[in-house]
Assembly symmetry: C2
Homo-oligomer: 326 residues x 2
């Protein structure tokens, strides 16, 4: 077993600096538990807030110490989800996409680690202002919702900001990180660990239908785009500024660039989208993965994925990226 | 003087794995020569092909061994630019944005290193097919023209492709790399070196007006966007699929999202844009830098920039990104 410790592993008392992204629908208790068991920290995806589903996922996680993540603007509509989740004494609560302020007191009161995911420097300032223990710098490569900054330049900029304004705050890099090279890169860029979505979406434990899993194996990293069409079809009122990275397929070919028309036809297209999603149709609904698709060639158990990331990262760091230095 | 060698430095017989991006207008002979003198490889920006300007820049480079880069689709309109440039026995010729095929024989015939810059996996396949010695994987974070892939996931995907299909081909990472952390990250991601644009745009030697230089010092990494408005205003017919990352300013606030209207008003707006550019107006014309702006806090000599990148990269690689491994 590899030893791989950073400020993050020491602060959270975990073995590896790898946190699973709390992916709505896909990131259930089994995946979160598997990541924690493998030595990282697993987060259940609180998503749009189905209380029974979230309870089921905490049950599925069993005795593994996992956390939970929420879509902040959505949580605001049903804040009891947070108090319910805190009863499980989660290892951490992650807030993404919206103002964290309304939830800070409850999280702090429960003595839980607060993780704030950020898509630009303004978000980072907010996260520091509310005293987040962990900040996630999420780049546009990420699957699912996000914004526009690229991971490679965003992470060191956030690292510099934290070093200057809040040096005890820990930093996770997210967006496009799917193997040990990404983990190693994140660390040399100044992060203390990584948040992994797409690579764990492509795990045995993720709640993803087989045709969607097959879809990522067929895609390279060019095969995704950022778009609003999934949210329009689902009638989920995401705030402007956030888009979702999903696979390019018949659904996006049909509607991306024709958002107004989709909106006008949502009475028909909405149910069609949801039915296709429920059936695991890979063509007529959104398939939720990011640019890291080009680095993924098998659906594997989360523990294999985590263990390999760590081993590869150690290898690449030890050989100093292949450079001969003196 | 730090020793920092990779496959790239050994193949090109340079000291450091740093190549300057051949930035149109900004990347003249003085900058290229300074980068070569500092131990990297400097490339003159052939831009849209003003033969007298290119001659002047080779003169300005003096006896330093520099290369030159061209915008491929534009070079096609005046191929004599290439034969003229080859008379200077450049250290390398870089082709970006378009089909390299028409120029391969001339470059090969001159015994010059061919660098092909790529924005997606299809471009990489093309570059391998024509036998490029060096492939650049350029991410969307880059200033100026580019496309949509993020550097952090694109680079390892290209590295894997080359390892499988053309293992002798060298790989440079580009887009968002402005300091030693970016260089270190590029190497652990599988690159043999980096192509640096924005950070060298912000150098003393770059042909950039002072108010534009001041503009990058005031901006963080959130302050740019990818857009077509500069090319519409300049009436430069860039192929669809490529956009330019420039600073958000009054010009982009006014026109981004109103491209058709700008096109309709180009008889007035075109000259206005060009005059503002010539005057160094930072508000009413495009200011050409990328997301790495958030990592840049001073306009410095290129040699200071190159030397510091190498020293910092060596530091971060040697300390293994702060991880404790065993």
């Amino acid at each position: 077993m590899t030893t791989f410790s950073t400020r993050l592993t020491r602060a959270l008392n975990i073995r590896y600096p790898i946190v699973s992204a709390p992916m709505a629908f896909a990131g259930g208790g089994a995946l979160a538990a598997a990541v924690t068991r493998a030595g990282g920290l697993g987060l259940i995806g609180g998503g749009y807030g189905d209380p029974a589903w979230i309870e089921d996922q905490f049950d599925a996680a069993g005795d593994q110490h996992v956390g939970v993540g929420f879509i902040t603007w959505s949580l605001r509509k049903s804040p009891s989800l947070l108090s319910d989740a805190l009863k499980h004494r989660p290892a951490a609560v992650m807030l993404s996409f919206g103002d964290p302020r309304p939830f800070v007191d409850d999280i702090r009161g429960a003595g839980t680690v607060m993780i704030c995911q950020c898509q630009n420097m303004e978000h980072v300032q907010d996260a520091v202002d509310v005293g987040a223990e962990v900040v996630v710098a999420q780049g546009a490569e990420a699957g699912g919702h996000g914004a526009l900054r690229g991971t490679l330049s965003f992470v060191p900029e956030v690292a510099d900001f934290l070093a200057q304004h809040s040096s005890g705050t820990l930093l996770l890099a997210a967006g496009g990180i799917a193997d040990g090279r990404g983990l190693a890169a994140a660390l040399v860029l100044g992060a203390d660990g990584v948040l992994v979505g797409t690579r764990l979406w492509a795990s045995k434990e993720a709640l993803v239908k087989e045709p969607h899993h097959n879809s990522i194996l067929e895609s390279n990293g060019d095969g995704t785009l950022r778009t609003r069409v999934a949210d329009i079809a689902r009638q989920i009122p995401w705030p402007r500024g956030f888009t979702a990275r999903i696979r390019r397929n018949a659904f996006t070919d049909r509607w991306h660039g024709r958002e107004d028309e989709l909106e006008a036809n949502v009475a028909i297209e909405g149910p069609r989208y949801r039915q296709a999603f429920a059936q695991g149709d890979p063509d007529n609904t959104a398939v939720w993965f990011g640019e890291a698709a080009g680095l993924i060639h098998a659906i594997e158990p989360a523990t294999v994925i985590v263990e390999r990331m760590v081993t590869q990262a150690a290898f690449h760091l030890t050989r100093r990226g292949g450079a001969t230095l003196s």
